[in-house]
């Protein structure tokens, strides 16, 4: 028969064990795998962290660079968020049996990732690109007098361009599409699609739109008296008339909501375009082309209003 003090000691030990064991089960681990430090990636991570602090305060966020990620570490987390294309590619090759959310990658890149096996946990993504509908809606909203749309399709953007063209035609626009396989074909393609002044909708394809081609594309369009709609704020600064894009913060916040919901036990949603977006305009270019535009903020509000109205 144990003595009274002895019983007390055992109780204490049991209590201690219970105390230490409970939080271990309660803490949710979120691993973030980034393609790079700083810039848009850091902004995204920081927005994600910010969002989780309010929506899932218990979640423990660890940030890994894609180069030094280890399977063991990632496997212990409840969900992995990859930021950027490179991180997504790295993770998709690892045997990590946790749900994965890819952010900050174009839809084209996501579609090129290896398919996960059937038994794997769910995978989802928030694309970098804007949904084609939104782009066409903005085009109609901002430039209702421009009936012609010019599109250039690169090796990575055939489908996207085809989809855009489809939607545009549905909305009553005349669409000119030219395929560009390498940068030498860029000028003739532009000449072709901009034979008459049209709105050139830039698509995120490295052959068509990269930092070395942007200027020549913008110049050519300008010479053809054609406005360009870009896909980033920088594009607008470089000379595009309009820009439709989502900021890293918007994407980070959206990712935080998805992570929080997942941690609460919900399933991952299907891959989707970002919900938050911004519209930027370049008033100088607008003046040069003699186009009157509403402000970017107004356009964004109107665009959101229309999207909200639509189910």
């Amino acid at each position: 028969m144990p003595s009274r003090p002895r019983r007390l000691l055992l109780l204490g030990i049991t209590l201690l064990m219970l105390q230490s064991g409970v939080p271990a089960h309660a803490a949710e681990r979120v691993a973030v795998l980034t393609s790079a430090q700083g810039g848009a990636y850091a902004e995204t991570v920081s927005a994600l962290r910010e969002g989780l602090r309010s929506s899932a305060p218990a979640a423990e966020l660890t940030v890994h660079n894609w180069e030094d990620a280890s399977v063991a570490e990632l496997a212990q987390s409840d969900i992995v968020v990859t930021v950027g294309t490179q991180a997504a590619q790295v993770l998709s090759q690892l045997e990590v049996a946790v749900p994965v959310l890819h952010v900050l990658l174009p839809q084209a890149a996501y579609e090129k990732l290896p398919r996960r096996r059937a038994g794997d946990p769910a995978t989802s993504a928030i694309f970098l690109d804007q949904p084609p509908e939104r782009q066409i809606t903005l085009l109609r909203l901002a430039l209702p007098d421009w009936p012609r749309l010019a599109l250039l399709s690169g090796p990575n953007s055939h489908e996207l361009v085809a989809r855009l063209g489809e939607i545009a035609r549905d909305r009553g626009l005349q669409v000119q599409i030219a395929a560009v396989e390498d940068d030498r074909q860029l000028y003739p393609a532009l000449q072709r699609v901009l034979a008459e002044p049209s709105v050139l909708l830039a698509t995120p394809d490295t052959v068509v739109s990269n930092s070395y081609t942007v200027q020549n594309v913008l110049l050519t369009a300008y010479r053809q008296r054609s406005p360009v709609i870009g896909f980033s704020a920088a594009y607008v600064r470089a000379g595009a008339l309009l820009g439709l894009y989502s900021t890293p913060a918007q994407i980070g916040s959206q990712a935080a909501q998805i992570v929080a919901r997942t941690l609460r036990g919900e399933h991952l949603p299907a891959p989707a375009h970002p919900t938050g977006f911004e519209v930027a305009i370049n008033p100088t270019v607008a003046r040069s082309l003699g186009i009157w535009l509403r402000s970017g903020a107004e356009l964004a509000v109107e665009l959101r209003r229309r999207e909200g109205a639509r189910p």
Binding site: A40, G84, D205, N210, S211, Y212, V214, A238
Partner: protein, 640 residues
């Protein structure tokens, strides 16, 4: 080489050399820098053109706008130095070309689209790739596409080739080089002028000192260096001046002393001349005063010797004659010396055969030699000589008699030998010889070696003095070779002459002759001398009329038909008429024939002889030797 340089050259070198080195170094380095700068500038300009063109043609190349490119290329051609421009696309096709590209360089189409610049043969070619300008799309789309991410360095759209002419650069380079050379020369000239100007300050001062020193050296001791400048130059000038002052003092002092010494010397010389004059006067007077009685003595002894005498008396007479002759010889010698000293002897040089003279002397001296037990040898030579035969005979007699006198035993030899164009006549003896130190003094008057007692039979010590004086007068070289115990050789050298046979025959003819019945007029103030002379002449068979004075003789001549064939008169006569005048009057009294006449005189002074010579009348000094008297009479009465 520098060791021989003057002050000025050194100063110039010191001033010019550093300047020159500096000028060369500066010019070379600055020209080099400037050339490098020019080179660099041209390169930079070329690159700037190329970059500008590349940037400007980017869109035109992108859009394939050849017109725009051509315009750009043509515009660039307006730039200075640009020779040619070419724009080439990425496939190597030329899109635009303007100007002319250097065909010697590799084809620009084949060049790699890398920035390059190289120059060759006056052309600088710059290749600049045309790169699309990059616009930073600072968002995620920059890296959105895996696998096809844009390269850091995009593919060049093409390249531009710009060629620039190096001609202007080279022209500029040669301009610079010439400017450099010119500036070096200019600096050199400037520094030479400056150094010359500066060095004048130094070298002029030194030159002044040097010139003054030179003048001081030439004896102008009153010269002084003007004291200018300071330091060493000043010390030098002061030193020179002090030296000059001391030299001048020393010279003045010396001049004073020399003047004193000269004055003293002159005084001494005057004294000596006076003493010499006194001696000559004394000799002349002494010989004159001695001559009168000697003359008479000689005549009387001659006359006495012609008398019949007992052998004892004859011996006495001979001894008297010998003594008288010795005394006469002494007087002759004294007379000779005084005549030679007076310088009134005029040698009459002519060619003659010395053998006759030698024969005569040996004949005369043989007896004396034999008397002393000596052998007298003659080794004659068949040459004639040119000299005064009478004076030559005097020389030879003196030498031979001297040799005989000083040779105790052995041989005396007279040897003739030809030596070139001269006849060397030696009188050798086997006597005691003469030590070196004595060989000069024996030619002085009254010097007799080893005759401290002055024995009269050893002569008066005038013989060699006369020989020396005669040899000097005739211009014959006189030589003495002797050593103690090895005899002596006196040699005299005479010029050899062509034989003159006519003169020789005349001599012969005159030597013959007879005085018998010769009418002689004799005038002498001194009765003793007159009687002696008259006795001698009478003993020779002459018919003598004598007178004490000139007047007496003239009376005698005027009173009767007796006409003399010869007139002998003393120079100094009692009464107003002297001997010379008497001769003139006597000749005037008997015109038509030139009355032969001569003078006798006890006056050995130069004046008497000069007067006789001036009148062309022979003069015999008293005491007159019978032989000489006879010879002279012969000569005068024998018609030429």
């Amino acid at each position: 080489m520098i060791a021989n340089w003057g002050v000025r050259a050194r100063v110039m070198l010191a001033a010019v050399l550093p300047m020159l080195v500096l000028a060369v170094v500066m010019t070379v380095s600055y020209t080099g820098l400037r050339l490098a700068d020019l080179d660099e500038a041209l390169n930079a300009r070329g690159r700037a053109f190329a970059r500008q063109l590349a940037a400007a043609s980017e869109y035109a190349v992108f859009s394939g706008d050849r017109d725009a490119l051509q315009q750009l290329a043509t515009t660039l051609l307006d730039e200075e130095d640009v020779l040619g421009v070419s724009v080439i696309d990425r496939d190597g096709a030329t899109l635009a070309r303007s100007g002319r590209l250097d065909g010697r360089l590799p084809s620009p189409e084949s060049a790699a689209p890398q920035p390059a610049a190289f120059s060759e043969r006056g052309t600088l070619r710059i290749i600049e790739p045309i790169r699309p300008s990059r616009l930073a799309l600072d968002d995620t789309f920059a890296v959105i596409s895996p696998g096809v991410a844009p390269a850091e360095r995009p593919v060049a759209l093409g390249r531009v080739v710009v060629e620039l002419s190096l001609e202007r650069l080279q022209r500029r380079r040669s301009e610079l080089l010439w400017t450099g050379v010119a500036s070096v020369l200019f600096v050199l000239l400037g520094s030479v002028l400056l150094a010359s100007y500066m060095s004048r300050g130094v070298s002029n001062a030194i030159r002044t000192v040097a010139n003054t020193a030179l003048r001081l050296g030439q004896g102008r001791l009153r010269e002084r260096v003007p004291i200018t400048g300071g330091g060493s130059l000043r010390r030098l000038a002061e030193g020179i001046n002090e030296m000059a002052a001391r030299l001048a003092d020393a010279r003045d002092d010396m001049a004073l002393r020399i003047a004193d010494a000269t004055a003293e010397l002159r005084m001494r010389k005057d004294e000596a001349e006076r003493a010499n004059l006194a001696k000559s006067r004394f000799l002349a007077a002494a010989s004159h005063d001695l001559r009168q009685p000697m003359h008479a003595l000689g005549l009387f002894v001659s006359e006495l010797a012609q008398q019949r005498l007992s052998p004892q008396s004859r011996q006495i007479v001979e001894r008297i004659a010998t003594s008288a002759e010795a005394m006469e010889n002494l007087l002759d010698s004294l007379l000779d010396i005084s005549r030679l000293d007076a310088g009134v002897l005029n040698p009459s040089m002519r060619a003659f055969d010395p053998r006759k003279v030698i024969d005569r002397i040996t004949a005369g001296q043989r007896a004396a030699a034999e008397h002393r037990g000596l052998r007298l040898h003659v080794r004659p030579a068949p040459y004639w000589v040119r000299s005064d035969p009478v004076l030559f005979e005097r020389i030879l007699i003196n030498l031979v008699s001297n040799a005989i006198r000083y040779t105790p035993a052995g041989t005396v030899m007279i040897a003739c030998r030809r030596r070139g164009d001269r006849l060397r006549l030696e009188v050798r003896d086997s006597g005691v010889g003469i030590v070196d130190e004595a060989q000069d003094i024996i030619f002085q008057e009254f010097i007799q070696l080893e005759n401290a007692e002055r024995a009269r039979d050893k002569g008066l010590g005038l013989g060699l003095a006369i020989v020396r004086r005669l040899a000097d007068l005739l211009g014959h070289r006189l030589e003495l070779r002797s050593a103690p115990g090895r005899g002596s050789v006196f040699a005299i050298e005479l010029p050899i002459a062509e034989p003159d046979t006519e003169a020789a025959q005349a001599d012969e003819a005159r030597a013959l002759g007879d005085l018998r019945d010769l009418r002689v007029a004799l005038v002498d103030g001194d009765a003793l001398a007159r009687e002696g002379m008259e006795g001698l002449l009478t003993s020779w068979g002459c018919k003598v009329r004598s007178a004490e004075t000139a007047e007496a003789l003239l009376d005698l001549l005027a009173s009767g038909p007796w006409a003399p064939e010869l007139l002998i008169t003393d120079l100094r006569l009692r009464g107003p008429i002297n001997g010379l005048e008497l001769i003139a009057r006597a000749r005037a009294a008997a015109p038509g024939r030139n009355l032969p006449a001569f003078l006798v005189s006890g006056d050995t002074g130069a004046a008497a002889l000069e007067r006789a010579q001036a009148a062309g009348v022979a003069l015999l000094h008293k005491p007159v030797r019978p032989a000489r008297l006879r010879a002279l009479m012969h000569r005068l009465i024998t018609p030429a």
